[in-house]
Symmetry: C2
Subunit: 396 residues, 2 copies
């Protein structure tokens, strides 16, 4: 077919991670590549009971078209939970239910980004956001991550030297690095953004998965008072298969988001929204999240311990207090892409770091997922990977 594709398609490619996931479908491979929650922890029976109850109590309404904003009682639940768990004020009217938090990125692109607009992201940055914003032909600027959040001096320089439309950040247990913004860095970001026309977009899918240490308030509404957008998701605390996320936004921005969502998919599944609402009403979500924390916390512990045991000292690894990922930095001479090819032969997989860097750096980094492997496989996989790294270091 000779029909021309739109210009935007020239710069966007298939998610490298999704391509890797195909390689790792082979069950004999121990995969730390995916970003999948552990399916053993999905509350199948409780969600089944919720689905039955929704059908019995409100079948026809639950299967009908519904409002673009989303199911009001579910929006109320989310708003109340922000107050209770994060200590920030959000009203149900300020919640827009989305088809996963990935859709929030698409809607933000639609509502804010003209071709060539500057978007500041973290280095390394979340691949889903890079993909999504790329569809709007945005120009990426990056700010390096330190152990406790962004390099504030670099952020200030980037803000001073460029007109930027937005700063997108994952403030808790970031994907891919696992890093979390300290209260000081949160305050620092808020101070730097004050008085500038730069939208702060705070993505927080992992914030509730904290195994140790203390919760921090979100930057949006915790430190930055009126501005900013906060994203959330049920994917990591309940189940991703429903595709349920949300965006906290208000005023004219909210109106524009609703218009953009109408044009995108009319609304998110009525049935999914009502089932999740029934589930969180009839069950204690905190108890369920506590189970996830316990399990992932143990898995992280085993991974960290195994790395200490099997990785050479030259490999630097982050030690996040929650989430689903660790981040490894190898000596500069080692290519994680080449290591990946070798690792696959030894039946172990990870995600090479380069795709998380829009500037083509990060060759010597990679991401490890600990949420979706049991402890035995984690130890064995890390052992295999450690041997592989040592071989590479010997060669180089």
């Amino acid at each position: 077919m000779p029909i021309q594709f739109a210009d935007r398609m020239a710069t966007v490619h298939r998610s490298f991670i999704r391509e890797i996931l195909k390689v790792t479908e082979d069950q004999s491979i121990i995969s730390f590549a995916g970003g999948l929650p552990n399916p053993e922890l999905f509350p199948v029976a409780d969600l089944q009971a919720a689905a039955v109850k929704v059908m019995e109590e409100s079948g026809p309404q639950s299967l009908q078209y519904s409002t673009t904003e989303g199911f009001q009682p579910l929006r109320q639940f989310i708003a109340d939970r922000y107050k209770e768990k994060k200590g920030i004020d959000v009203s149900a009217d300020e919640i827009l239910i989305t088809s996963g938090s990935q859709q929030c990125l698409d809607l933000l692109g639609k509502v804010f980004l003209n071709k060539g607009d500057n978007v500041i992201i973290e280095r390394p940055g979340y691949l889903g956001a890079i993909q999504s914003f790329s569809m709007f032909q945005s120009n990426f600027l990056t700010v390096g991550l330190e152990d406790d959040g962004p390099d504030l001096a670099e952020l200030e320089m980037v803000l001073d030297q460029n007109d930027s439309k937005m700063f997108y950040a994952v403030t808790n247990f970031q994907n891919p690095s696992g890093l979390t913004y300290s209260p000081e860095k949160r305050q620092g970001v808020a101070d730097l953004l004050k008085g500038r026309d730069v939208l702060f977009v705070e993505d927080d899918p992992y914030g509730e998965l904290r195994f140790m240490g203390e919760f921090h308030k979100p930057v949006v509404r915790g430190y930055l008072k009126d501005d900013g957008v906060l994203l959330g998701s049920f994917s990591k605390v309940a189940a991703p298969g429903f595709r349920l996320g949300w965006m906290v936004c208000s005023g004219e921005m909210r109106d524009k988001m609703i218009i953009a969502k109408q044009a995108s998919d009319l609304h998110t599944s009525t049935f999914a929204q009502r089932v999740i609402h029934r589930y969180v009403t009839d069950n204690n979500l905190d108890d369920h999240i506590e189970k996830i924390r316990q399990r992932y916390g143990n898995q992280r512990e085993v991974m960290v311990k195994s790395i200490e045991k099997f990785f050479p000292a030259e490999a630097k690894v982050t030690q996040p207090e929650g989430g689903m990922f660790l981040w490894v930095t190898l000596p500069e001479s080692v290519s994680a892409m080449e290591l990946f090819d070798e690792a696959i032969k030894n039946k172990v997989a990870f995600v090479p770091g380069r795709p998380f860097y829009v500037d083509g750096t990060g060759e010597n980094t990679f991401r490890l997922n600990f949420s979706n492997s049991d402890e035995t496989r984690i130890e064995e996989g890390i052992k295999r990977l450690g041997s592989g790294i040592k071989e590479f270091l010997t060669k180089s």
Copy 2:
């Protein structure tokens, strides 16, 4: 907040229909305004049984992330059904599952439309498509609809005089007009598009809701051999609350669509896809559709008869053989928008036609939905509306 919205947001507004629906939430109003299926016909018990079975048989997988393309067995079902019901060859690999067929429009915009690209639509045209393509700052060209499909002479002229990227058409029981393309018009469209670099997008959410007359093959793969995109949906044959639609596309176009969908929402609800697949496997979808046809057919009959009885002869009405809508054309002197304000006072509602015309015409037209009112209310509502029209004609 002083942050500038993207340019595209300046031209897109909230769906006028969705605004009208708010007015008609008042239960005392007989509403022919919505485009809703009749919720009494949703197969609640069978979908509940399917949901339970999916949870019991494959709970964890059904709640996990899944592939962007969609659930393979569901794609196979759709492909097989095309062969069986429409006589066209489609493979499961050519089906992309989407979050409602509305999402297909968004993906088509993403993959094909640069700012200013010409898109040909029908006059009147589907509002959801106008909204969706407007987000990509497309320029609309229109082709008038006759009783049996598009005015081919006008289509030829529009094609000859402009470089167009796409021609979007609803070939069966169009929303809003209820009109269907005859086999001759289908062939005519295929002939006119032959050898031109114009993508034919055929949207067919209502094709299975035929109460009388004969099925026609889709233009895509029925008349146009290799090109074109065909859209489908479970919203009108099962339930819209799941947000499940699909797109038939192949080759490089399919690859681009997958990339665009990854960036938009990763994938459509795993659970919803598996429940619908279970439902169509364990039940006879044809039997269910037959029930819908019977009911809507009766409702259409009552509406047509009531119109003959209560509307003045000057009101011209389409007589579709299926779908959910009738289309009324009043004498040019009458404004359907003014009629709407009067009608609401008499507790009856419809959708004024002007929003379906991108050129600002259509002031004297309106849409009537017959799928979502019972026969008593249809007769009473049409009676009230007839009185209102007669009053307007007397005044004008």
